[in-house]
Structure formats: C-alpha cells, structure tokens
Subunit: 246 residues, 2 copies
C-alpha cells in the first residue's frame, strides 16, 4: 500500500492521509473523523513499535523513515516479512485478524509515523463500500507482491535476488551508468532477502563478478545495466522494469 | 479461501457455492444470480486452465481434485505459488488485477470445478458491502498464509520445510502413531516447497534420520510426533498445531 508523498516531513497530517489511495473517494464526514483521530509520532531508530500478536489499537502511515515488519521463531530467529518506507501503511490488516498484529514492527531509522485507530477503520469499512473496495485493491496489490516474493525465493539464486533488489531501486528513466544508494545497511538487506550474512557476502561477490557492478560503502555503481538485467530478470516471470513492487 | 465441503462430488452447484465463506450473508437476489451463472466442469489431470496474464472471464471453486497455481520465468522455470484442493477458490483476485490472472493454473489430478463469471463478482462486490467484507476477510487470511510461507522460505531449512508440510496434513485429533498419505507426488511437493528434486531427496533423508519418520510409497508413518514437532516448529513463529493454513 504505497503512495508517493512529496516533501512528506512538511505536510500537515490531513494532507498525508488525504494522499493515501486507501482513502480515495471517501466521503467528507468519514475523512474528517480519520483526520481528527490521526496523530503524528516521531520514533527513534531501533524502537520496537509492537510485537506479533499484540492487540492492534492503531495502524500506521509512514511519513518518513523505514520500518521493518518481522516474525520471530520459537527458537529466536527473526524472519523479515517486509521493509517499508514513506507512503506505506502497516497494521491495518489487524482489522481482519482478530484485532492483533500479524507481525512485529521496528523503526530501523528515525521515523515519522501517523497513527490512526483500527477501531475507526473497522467501523468505516463496514459502512463505506468505497473504503472496502480501496482496501481490497490495496490488499490485492500486496498479494501480488507476495506472489513475486515467493516466486523469487523459489527460483532465483542468491546473487539474482540481490540483483533484483538493486534493480528495484533504479528509477525507470535513470541515466546509465546508474549510481544508487543502498537504503539501509547490508546486514538488513541480507535478512530482507532471506540470506545469512556469509551467504550474502558470497552472493554479492558473485554478482559483481558476473555483472560488473561496483559497490563502495552504501553506493552502488551499475555501469552495464543490461548485464544486470539479463543476469537477474531472465529468472523471473516479469521483465525489467517492473513496477508492481511498491 | 478454503471451506470444508462434505461429500463434494454429490452436491448440487448451489449447495457448493452456498457453503463458501465468500458468499456468507449475501442477499437472495445476488446469490440467485451467482447460482444461475455457475457451471460445473470436469477437468482431466494435466489440463492447463489458463496462463498468467490471460484475460480472466471466470473464477473457480474446486469441488474435488487438485489445482496448482504457478508462474513461469522468462527462461522457462516454473515457480509454484500454491497447490489447492476442495473448497478453495482461485482466479477471483483478477477482479482487482486488470481482469487478468496473476498465475497460470493447471489441474494436477482429475478435478471438478465450478466456474463463475468474474464480471458478475465485480458487479456484486461494488454493490454489496457484505460481499466486499467477506472478500477482505478471505484475502487477509491468504495474506497471513503468504507471510508464513515467506517466513519459512527465509528461516527454515529444507528438512524443516518438509516436516512442516507433513505436520499440516495431520488432523489435530489424529491418534499417534500417525499414518498419512501424501496428497500429490513427491516431485510436485519438492517444487511446492521451492526445492530441486535432488535437494528434496537429501532433505527427506535427513528428516527421516532426525525424526524417525518412515515413508513407503505415498504413505508416511510418524511414530514419534513430538520429535517431528520439535525438529520443525521451533523454527517457526507458531507452535503446533497451527490452523492458519487452509
């Protein structure tokens, strides 16, 4: 559920939630109630927002920053389900999941959020078919993203999964050679891609060797975009550039 | 989206669709229209029902049999997204995905389906908030299943993923020692779990060694259920028995 927010830090709360696809076409009284209940929160890096199975009183819109959603196994490993940034929502699904969060959430950078009560969302969905349809569209888009994720975990090897992660950071009109910045640290990228740190290092070395990309600190230089695309996207059901992953 | 169907092969079409959670609480005129448009289809094993990106005129309810949903990569590998049986729906999400199927579908056994027009579903969702809410609940449940799937692909090793597959076939009140039958062939189980056949064979050998399970043809004998549970479920965020995967 991503909406591109322009200059998010300077926007009033109403403008941020007004820009969300989820609330498109909502009638004024419903929107006013959401606006009145919305609160801006500044969350420091590293703060745990909630645990899996916690009662979900609020859902959140990310104004600026990064949030990871994860689940913890009984023996203590962490499985990252998603890493979200500006314009994404999380926790809204609790409405359909016994009012509990299905994942834990942690701010991985200093993050600004807007919180909204899940009880209000639940009430409005039951009375507004427009909101229910918006939510269905968003959830369906998310389902497609998850299909792609399952596909990649099934058929791509580790270097290809890293290649795909990098290609998703490229803008469609980006001039070649491409220079881009890793959005968060490599350990987290490894976890996000379902790799142990040592697997990630080996895979990254192989990707560099196969495609000629260079990485200096958090900066990635892609001199031959087509080489990276061929290496990665032949092992996916969609060709580059794909815009289905928000 | 699973609903348990009793004696599905002998049920009239209206009873099958009437038992679906998706249509619960739907008003009589809407239900009558669905019922009038529903068609029963007998599909032989191996028949391709549709390709990914095909226009989606119909969605389907599985009455009896098995259907695999998959995506094909540009270089021709197949990634299995799901394998579904009686009571499951597929294709209904096309309503939110430009009226195209997001996965290919193939009958992997002789299968009986009921087809329903997606255009009618789209029309009814727009006018019935009850139907929209039912669809949201189903989609949310599916989203949780996919979270679990991503979690497992990220943190479980291959023998644990096979262990999990077997534990999901156990009924909660099943007497120990457990005897169960593999629902489809091992090659397909391997693909469903994102493994190459040789990885699957090695992983199965390790699982047998670690947990004492025995497999003769399509029959699995679990003499020490707790050993299988400990080996598998400590590497998951939910303890056995988990009922969230339909």
């Amino acid at each position: 559920m991503a909406t591109v927010l322009k200059h998010p830090s300077s926007l009033p709360v109403g403008d941020v939630i007004g820009a969300l696809a989820l609330f498109e076409g909502l009638d004024t009284p419903a929107f006013e109630r959401l606006n009145a209940a919305a609160q801006r929160l500044n969350i420091p890096k590293g703060k745990l927002l909630h645990l899996q199975d916690d009662p979900a009183d609020y859902f959140y819109v990310i104004v600026q920053g990064w949030v990871k959603l994860f689940r913890e196994t009984l023996e203590g490993s962490e499985a990252i389900i998603d890493v979200l940034t500006s314009g994404h929502l999380f926790g809204e699904n609790a409405v359909f999941e016994n009012d509990c969060y299905s994942c834990a959430a942690e701010a991985i950078e200093d993050t600004t959020l807007i919180s909204l009560p899940t009880a209000l969302l639940k009430e409005l969905i039951a009375s507004s078919n427009q909101l229910a349809l918006n939510m269905l569209s968003s959830m369906s888009r998310h389902r497609l993203q998850q299909h792609r994720e399952i596909e990649h975990l099934n058929v791509q090897n580790a270097p290809q999964r890293i290649g795909c992660f990098l290609l998703r950071l490229c803008k469609p009109d980006q001039p070649v050679p491409v220079t881009l910045h890793l959005p968060y640290d490599k350990t987290l990228i490894a976890s996000r891609l379902g790799m142990k740190p040592e697997t990630f290092s080996r895979a990254l070395a192989k990707l560099k060797e196969q495609t000629g990309i260079r990485i200096v600190g958090p900066t990635v230089y892609i001199d031959r975009l087509q080489a990276l695309v061929s290496y990665t996207c032949n092992h996916c059901s969609t060709s580059f550039p794909c815009d289905d992953l928000g």
